[in-house]
Amino acid sequence: MVTCHDSVVGGSWRTVASARAGALALGALGAAFGLLTLAAARAAPGGSFAGTSWVGAVAELTAGWALIAAGVAETWRRPASRAGLLLVGAGIGWFFTEWNNPGVGSPAAFTFGLIASALAAPLVAHAALAYPAGRLDSRLDVGVLVFAYAGAGLVLGLLPALFFDPGRQGCSLCPANLALMRSEPGLASGLQQAGLLLGLAWAAALVTAGMRRLVRASPPLRRMLWPVLVPAGCYVLLAGADLVHSLPRGTLGNDPLDYQLWLGEAACLVLMALGVSWAWVRDRRTRAAVVRLVIDAAQSPPPGGLRDVLAQMLGDPGLELAYPVGEPPRQVRADGEPASAEPGGDETVTPLARGGRTVAVVRHRAGLLDDPGLVEEVAAAARLGMENERLHAEVLAHLADLQAAQARIVAGGDAERRRLERDLHDGAQQRLVALALALRLPAPQPGEAPDPRLTSLIDQVGYELRLAIDELRELAHGIYPAVLADEGLAAAVEALAETCAIPITIGHLPQGRLPAPVEAAGYFLVAEASGLIAALPGAEGATVEAKQEGDRLVIQITSDAAAQPAQDLEAALLDVSDRVGALGGRLDAGQTPAGAITIWAEIPCGS
């Protein structure tokens, strides 16, 4: 699955502005509604929680306003997500509870309280289950919420209200019930009872849905979810406990235990609002870390540093950040190496785009960047750093291309040399041998003595042929020694020592086989370097040593006596140096403190 998010998700500015304005307006209305609720409660404290004390008043307003404020701020940060509006809705829903108050005076307000007072719990649960994307992940969540809304709004709200006649059910102080259709006290209390029982069921279902969501979320998403889901779950549990407490009574009430539970609910909602703001703190920290990296990068760019920051901040150690380079584009890591081709089973690829152009691609655990807002955050925060790393990666990728091309050229040259050597051996030399042989096959000349001049001429030609064969052999060997291809570096260096103009002392040589280009580079280095040393005045000999250190072959050729190089050594070894360089190795030539010439090379030999 490939999801594509543009960092300007949210569409036009108009949409963004109207979303923000809407949230702000709703929030303002909600806040005012809270004040109105408190005023109503204080006017009739007997039927309220908030009106009884300052503690109650503070709890009422703090819980509601905290959720509203968190919702407005969330919409401000991510206008595209409806999570903010749902939070504002939950905050307003919290105030509904207070309107279930017989002393509220106005029939309209009393009727509203009868119907809506139980809606707070589903509203809060809705906001929590839809956080942070503002939409519900699964059909199961949708079903559970519909169940809860129906249970709270209909069975516990509207339906009993249709039959609840305050006058006949012992509430002489109660205002008129505007929703009353027919006075059926038995049916009304029966429905109330059923609503309470049903409430236990939907409360349990909501808590289970929340837990399921936490368990199924990817670790990074879970880190973002639990500060919101856990307090919301506690809130629903307390609301459920209140339903249990209300069962014997047959109706929701406000005795001291109800009040204690209500205070607990308020505390949970405040924590939930804080949980929402905790995500901002985390995002801010991510952003700060990325910005720090960008500043650091301006001084000395650490390739891959951005990946490390993202991996750490998003909690996915295997996260890979790749940049599209070249034409046609291919993806490389910050160090210029090709990125992993296909995402693994539980991995997803998320392109980070700017202005319709993919700047980078994040390969990460599935679910990590499901929230478009998060992608937006990452893309915005990492923009500068990414641009910097992308350029760096591009340069490195080009360098790698060049080196690969160079290695291919050298390998192609070697293959050509090898072919030439074989052609000379199997073709020309073979023919000369056959010719020399044919020369010796005497033509039948019965009864006739061989012409001595002819015999001498044949001997002469035979001698010349042998010289030609020798020269051809030397030529072929110089082009590409068969022993190097057949037997490897050690055997080829030993063969070299048999013909070198100076004594060669052979120290340790790796006996196993190495990749052919490495063996060729090593061999030609020894050949060139020993030839160079042999040409120096007063040369006495040279020592060759090679060993494998980890995944590198280290070769050193040292002259046995102090000598003064007649020319620039590195310039004289340019060909070999290119060979070594094509394999990503390096060559160094210089003099030991004692004045001996030393030529050293390090060649990576990992295949």
């Binding site: 056959a434 042989l437 048999e498 046995d560």
Partner: protein, 214 residues
């Protein structure tokens, strides 16, 4: 004397066979690759198999592998490997473990029937043969000062013949010396090179070769 010849180059195979036949050597079979050679050896039991080092399929060292195989299946059959390579490495691979009845000559020797016939003769008698050019190259190799510098010219000649796989008698004939004189030379050479007294002929060859290659 019966030989078989294995070489994938038809001209050389046929030419060598004709030259050998005219020199009185019986050519019992001709092969163009190692498999065919092994089949002919199994049926003909020749005294010596003359084998090109490079044969199909890889054209690298099939001849050496065939020599190894003949040793295990037909220990009584000698093998003369013909090679393009001067490097002593290949020759050493042929001789180092079992030098008995093995020979290594450069390919172009086939046109010198004298050398070729002599080599086959010696291999059939169980000696080992190494091409003089390779030996010369080894002896001429640049070295730091060492025991080789203490040898007289005559001793160097004798040393080369030892390395070529000659017996004392062979050396005496080649240099026109008495066997006793050769024996004295050999003793001195072995002492000077620090190789000790090695009475066994094959071990003597190997010791000298190892000394020269070191």
């Amino acid at each position: 004397m019966r030989v078989v010849i294995a070489d994938d180059a038809m001209l050389i195979r046929e030419g060598t066979a004709r030259l050998l036949e005219e020199a009185g050597v019986e050519v019992a079979g001709k092969a163009c690759d190692a498999q065919q050679l092994l089949r002919i050896v199994a049926t003909e039991h020749p005294d010596v198999a003359i084998v090109d080092i490079k044969m199909p399929p890889t054209h690298t060292d099939e001849g050496l592998a065939a020599a190894e195989q003949i040793r295990s299946t037909h220990p009584g059959v000698g093998v003369l490997v013909l090679s393009q390579y001067l490097d002593s490495r290949y020759a050493t691979r042929l001789l180092e473990h079992h030098p008995e009845a093995r020979g290594y000559l450069l390919k172009e020797r086939v046109s010198d029937i004298g050398v070729l016939k002599d080599a086959i003769q010696r291999i059939a008698e169980g000696e080992c043969v190494l091409d003089p050019t390779i030996v010369t190259r080894l002896i001429k190799r640049q070295r730091h000062r060492g025991p080789l510098d203490d040898l007289t010219d005559r001793e160097r000649e004798v040393l080369a013949l030892i390395a070529e796989g000659r017996s004392n008698l062979g050396i005496a004939q080649a240099l026109v010396l008495s066997p006793k004189t050769v024996e004295a030379h050999v003793g001195r050479i072995m002492a000077k090179l620090g190789l000790g007294d090695t009475p066994d002929y094959h071990r003597r060859v190997l010791a000298v070769l190892a000394f020269l290659r070191a």
